[in-house]
């Protein structure tokens, strides 16, 4: 009886946290959302004087906006694909093979995330300058690729390790060569978890700003970099707000996609949970 009573009590701490999080996350989103559809909003009015799509038309009429959208999308797709080609075989090797300095290499992927990122980027920018990679598309691809390494290696390694080796042996037994086993058995078995990693790397690349700005500026401007410069340099708030709302689209799409293909446990499994 006592236990049942305790379990029924309201979890005030939890509700408190939820409320704070809601205010901190939802409220700014609401404000930005409102600004994006506002034509006139002057102090001290609580709600805008005039709603409208005026600034959407103005924003979307700008050539730099469209070119940055194209840049962002092609950058994210290129980085994600390259990352798959490089990291998935590497992850398989980490999961299934023994080789010298395996653990050292495995933990070296943490290095990119273990130090202050901006300092690292500045150092890399110095090297890229020598290599004529500054302000080029492939320079930005390279820097973003480094950013995706951690979760494109670590999550798939966990996914591959959780695939039953007997399944792979059974496939060898019925006549499949090692690559066919990987393609037809291992990859589909590890599929949902790897999809999670791919999604993370796409979204992560799409929203990354520091590397994209430091290596890409001024020629290569991604959508988030453009938004930041709008917010910093434009007296009109709406430009930034409109871009920010546009930027929500890929993350919403990613979320919906994630809900469809990823069963609830996959993310946790990917992180070894």
């Amino acid at each position: 009886m006592a236990r049942a009573l305790i379990e029924k009590r309201m979890d005030w701490t939890g509700i408190g946290f939820a409320a704070v999080l809601t205010v901190v996350i939802i409220f700014p989103l609401l404000v930005v959302g409102t600004w994006a559809f506002t034509n006139v909003w002057r102090y001290p009015s609580v709600i805008p004087q005039e709603f409208g799509l005026k600034f959407w038309q103005q924003t979307l009429a700008r050539a730099d906006v469209w070119s940055s959208i194209t840049t962002s999308l092609s950058l994210s797709v290129t980085v994600t694909l390259l990352s798959c080609v490089i990291c998935l075989p590497a992850a398989y090797a980490f999961a299934r093979m023994e080789f010298p300095a395996r653990n050292l290499l495995f933990f070296s992927f943490l290095a990119g995330h273990a130090f202050p990122k901006f300092g690292l980027l500045v150092a890399i920018a110095g090297i890229f300058l020598q290599l004529n990679l500054i302000a080029t598309f492939w320079g930005v691809v390279l820097i973003q690729l480094v950013g995706t390494l951690l979760f494109m290696i670590w999550i798939p390694v966990a996914a591959f390790q959780s695939v039953d080796r007997r399944m792979e042996e059974a496939a060898r037994d019925v006549g499949a060569k090692p690559f066919r086993v990987f393609w037809s058995i291992t990859l589909p078995q590890a599929g949902p978890t790897i999809a999670a990693a791919v999604l993370l790397s796409f979204v992560g690349t799409f929203y990354e700003t520091e590397g994209a700005w430091l290596i890409g500026a001024p020629q290569i401007r991604t959508l988030p970099v453009l938004m930041i410069s709008f917010i910093n340099n434009q007296p009109v708030i709406q430009y930034g707000a409109v871009l920010s709302v546009i930027l929500w689209v890929p993350s919403f799409a990613a979320l919906l996609f994630a809900r469809r293909i990823i069963s609830s446990g996959s993310f946790a499994r990917g992180f070894g949970g």
Binding site: D164, R166, M167, E169, A170, A171, R172, D173, V174, G175, A176, K177, R180, S184, I185, P188, Q189, G191
Partner: protein, 348 residues
Amino acid sequence: MAVLDIQGVTKKFSTTTAVDDFTLTVADGELVCLLGPSGSGKSTLLRMIGGFETATSGLITIDGEDVTRVPPERRPTGMVFQSHALWTHMNVFNNLAFGLKLRRLPKAEIKRKVEAVLDLVGLGGYGSRATTQLSGGQQQRVALARSLVLEPKILLLDEPFASLDQHLRERLREEVRDIQQRLKITTLFVTHGQDEALALADRIVVMRDGHTEQADRPDVVYREPATPFVAGFIGSMNLVDGTIANGVFTHTGFAVPLAAADGPATLAVRPEALDIVPAAGAGMAKIHRVTDYGTHAIVDVDLPDGVRLKAMVGEARNWSAGQAIDLKPRAFAAYRYNAAIFRSLDNG
């Protein structure tokens, strides 16, 4: 159909020798059981035949063709794993069709073969099921069918029923035996269950520490175990250490006349060959407990020094705990230094 020949095969892992100079020939259509405790090397041996481990030395041939270093995908062997290892992202049909597709058979023929093998294992019409929807026994049948559909020369079974319950295990092993007889397929079966080996095998190979203790027909292995290890591993067996002097084996109060040279010896008596009678005098032993199994009863008896023996009796109610009794072994054997030195004539 095929002959499997294993000649002097050794498998060493970094510090241990799993299989030690092992030799065995499996005749065409024969079903041989590799029986032994865990760590005896039986699974390693099977995995070497399947191609999942490479022998350190020795030769494995199938129909005279050397396969010792051939990768598993090019061996004419089919393996059924303990954990069934079905591919959960494919349905039953695709699990069975995978190997056939790799062989580039026409679609219609694949369909015909898969349906035929599903009928063979009693799962006709289950093709579109997801493997995860099947029961444990059905999953193991699909795993068996996946190997059989490719018509391997040698069928390898690695403790395939270990994860199933007793009842299902018995039924499946009868089915496997029927299928094996019908297809006349040369089969090697690994198990640590002696009842499974006795029920299935044409020949049992009892393994210990990577070598053969005894290889013979099940009835011979049961009735004439070559070593005390086999005696103790197959069926239940009373093993008593003692000495032989002047044609009599003795162990504190328990004396059995047998014709063998003087010296230390181990006496082996099966419970069903150990008769007990109410004590004439003080008695050789005391009953500790009587366990009634309905069809028969097992009487645990304690010798004066505490060594416990088991005797099988027909009626539990004739005996009670604490009763003093005499022991009369009907059939027995004696071992010295790992070899049999005496067997009584009546081996029943």
